[in-house]
């Protein structure tokens, strides 16, 4: 059975591949630098002198009770995340009704799977597209430290090389109940935060 040889696309696919490869190499080279804090632009004065108490608690309550996760499902942990969303361990009762496909409409990124260097620029881009305030839960052993694949040539040893992580949930994969506990921990962390400095 004959096939057409060699196939040409209308775009220069070799150059596109090369450009993407360079983006991955630069990300890999810079991954050891600290990720800057999001509200470092706030004036020192404002941080020291302004205190909002009851407004803070209302806003924190609103924020933590309606966290919407963004869809970012690399690997196996995704299925425990989906199982958590399904009817048995329903997370809608905690306000996390919908998994948002668009990062602009989400404020929580649950990293469900192993991160590879090839995927890392895309995850960083999704994280940067999310609007403030945003939080990240590193789910599973692969999210915390690379897990069982740590010594591989293509695996990032933990999401905290790429995005700043708030809560770590261990397990391989973590049970849906464990992930719910992690989300509750994040809700407690948000409750302690303040509008002036990010909680």
């Amino acid at each position: 059975m004959e096939i057409d040889i060699p196939h040409k696309f209308i775009y220069p696919d070799a150059e596109l591949d090369k450009a993407e490869g360079e983006a991955i190499e630069t990300l890999k080279a810079n991954c050891q630098q600290t990720i800057p804090d999001a509200d470092s632009w706030l004036d020192e004065e404002i941080q020291r002198n302004v205190m909002l108490t009851s407004l803070d608690s209302v806003i924190n309550w609103a924020r933590r009770s309606s966290l919407w996760p963004v869809i970012c499902f690399p690997a196996c942990c995704a299925f425990e995340l989906i199982a958590m969303q399904a009817s048995r361990f329903d997370i809608s009762r905690f306000g996390m009704e919908i998994l948002r496909a668009s990062p602009r409409q989400a404020d929580l990124m649950i990293t469900a799977g192993t991160l590879t260097w090839k995927m890392a620029p895309q995850v960083k881009r999704i994280y940067e597209q999310m609007a403030e305030p945003k939080w990240v839960i590193a789910m599973g052993a692969c999210g915390i430290s690379g897990g069982i694949f740590r010594s591989s040539y293509n695996v990032v040893p933990g999401y905290n090389h790429i995005v700043p992580v708030d809560v770590y949930v261990p397990g391989c994969p973590p049970r849906p109940e464990a992930l719910l506990y992690g989300i509750k921990m994040l809700q407690d962390k948000i409750a302690k935060g303040s509008l002036v400095t990010k909680g």
């Binding site: 059975m1 696309f9 209308i10 775009y11 690997a75 196996c76 199982a83």
Partner: protein, 367 residues
């Protein structure tokens, strides 16, 4: 006067709700019709084959779990069969019957997700998916009774199983096997003649029989194209020749046929489970194998009929405690070979459905 148009390149993926994982397609569009397609993989390439060379033979079993993470038991079974073939280890009968029961339960669980995700892609936003998940939770409970884990079981061992089934397993399995045909009939009642599904899936994404054989397709994709080839019948492993079951095939080779083949295979799996439960003998579940296995120098290739297709392992041994080379013949990667031919000429929404009907798992494509 014709409008001047220009083709436009669109990136579908890798972060996309319907691409079943991190899969990317660079689609060249003319209007809404796809005229060219380039799939890009590697976003989940974790180097499992290289990592397997650093671990003992038993230590590779958790790595094989993570290949097709929706059918971990089948992956374990394929790997363990290959090691047993390489080292010439015999498996007790009770272990083989239990392996058959577990492999068929895993097939039902895998097909439930495949069908649920396919219907999700067709537009029924999450309702059929959650229905299938309800059944899958029952199977996952059975597996949790047996192995302690919900998703990545690590249950099979070289020479048998890691532990025997607890006493509450068989009554619970009996109850499941009695209730499940009713649920499959319920799905047929809801979806089989649904006009939206028929309009979206009939005649879409045709893979002709000649091409299916030429691209080495396997599993429901090959059988929906009319080829009656199932490893359980053609090259039986682990006592499958003692059971009586049919191989459903399709005629029209389109997405609807792949959906029907998967539903029919679930019914046949229940048939096999019932027969295996009746014939289950007593005895040990693991033969005596040294802890650090050192097979003699040689190589072996063994394959099974996993839910996604023909899953094979090729192992080379050099008489040390770790494999010299462990290669996985991944059905999902090879089933994707004809993706371009199946999608060209259709629109983006059809592309999502065609891609969903092949049913891949990125852990297996990328390894």
């Amino acid at each position: 006067m014709a409008l001047k148009t220009e083709p436009f390149v669109l990136n579908i993926g890798p972060v996309h709700p319907s691409t079943h994982g991190v899969f990317r397609m660079r689609a060249t569009l003319d209007g809404e019709v796809i005229v060219d397609l380039e799939p890009v993989f590697g976003y989940l390439h974790r180097g499992i084959e290289k990592l397997a060379e650093e671990r003992t033979y038993t230590g590779v079993i958790p790595l094989t779990d993570r290949l097709d993470y929706l059918a971990s038991m089948s992956n374990n079974l394929a790997y363990v069969l290959t090691v047993e073939k390489l080292a010439g280890i015999a498996v007790p009968e009770r272990a083989q019957y239990l392996r058959v029961i577990i492999a068929e339960l895993q097939r039902i669980a895998g097909h439930l997700i495949a069908v649920g995700a396919f219907l999700n892609d067709c537009g029924a936003f999450f309702t059929p998916f959650l229905y299938m998940f309800r059944e899958r939770e029952k199977i996952v409970d059975l597996f949790e009774m047996v192995s302690g884990q919900r998703l990545l079981y690590n249950y099979m061992r070289i020479g048998g199983l890691s532990q025997d089934i607890p006493e509450e397993f068989l009554p619970a399995l009996d109850k499941f096997v009695q209730q499940m045909p009713g649920f499959i009939d319920e799905y047929d009642r809801f979806f089989a003649q649904n006009e939206i599904l028929l309009a979206r899936a009939k005649g879409v994404g045709i893979l002709p029989q000649e091409m299916a054989i030429n691209i080495s397709a396997s599993g429901p994709v090959l059988r929906a194209s009319g080829v009656n080839w199932d490893i359980r019948k053609a090259d039986p492993y682990s006592l499958y020749d003692r059971f009586d079951f049919d191989i459903p095939t399709g005629t029209a080779s389109d997405c609807y046929d792949r959906y029907r083949v998967r539903i029919a295979e679930m019914r046949q799996s229940l048939r096999i489970i019932r027969q295996a439960m009746e014939q289950l003998p007593s005895g040990p579940v693991k033969s005596d194998v040294p802890r650090l296995l050192r097979p003699q120098v040689g190589e072996a290739y063994a394959h099974i009929e996993a839910p996604k297709g023909d899953l094979g392992f090729y192992l080379v041994s050099d008489n040390s405690i770790a494999p010299y080379r462990c290669h996985v013949r991944a059905p999902s990667l090879i089933n994707l070979t004809a993706l371009r031919e199946m999608i060209i000429g259709w629109k983006i929404q059809d592309a999502i459905i065609i891609f969903g009907s092949i049913d891949i798992t990125m852990g297996e494509v990328d390894r």
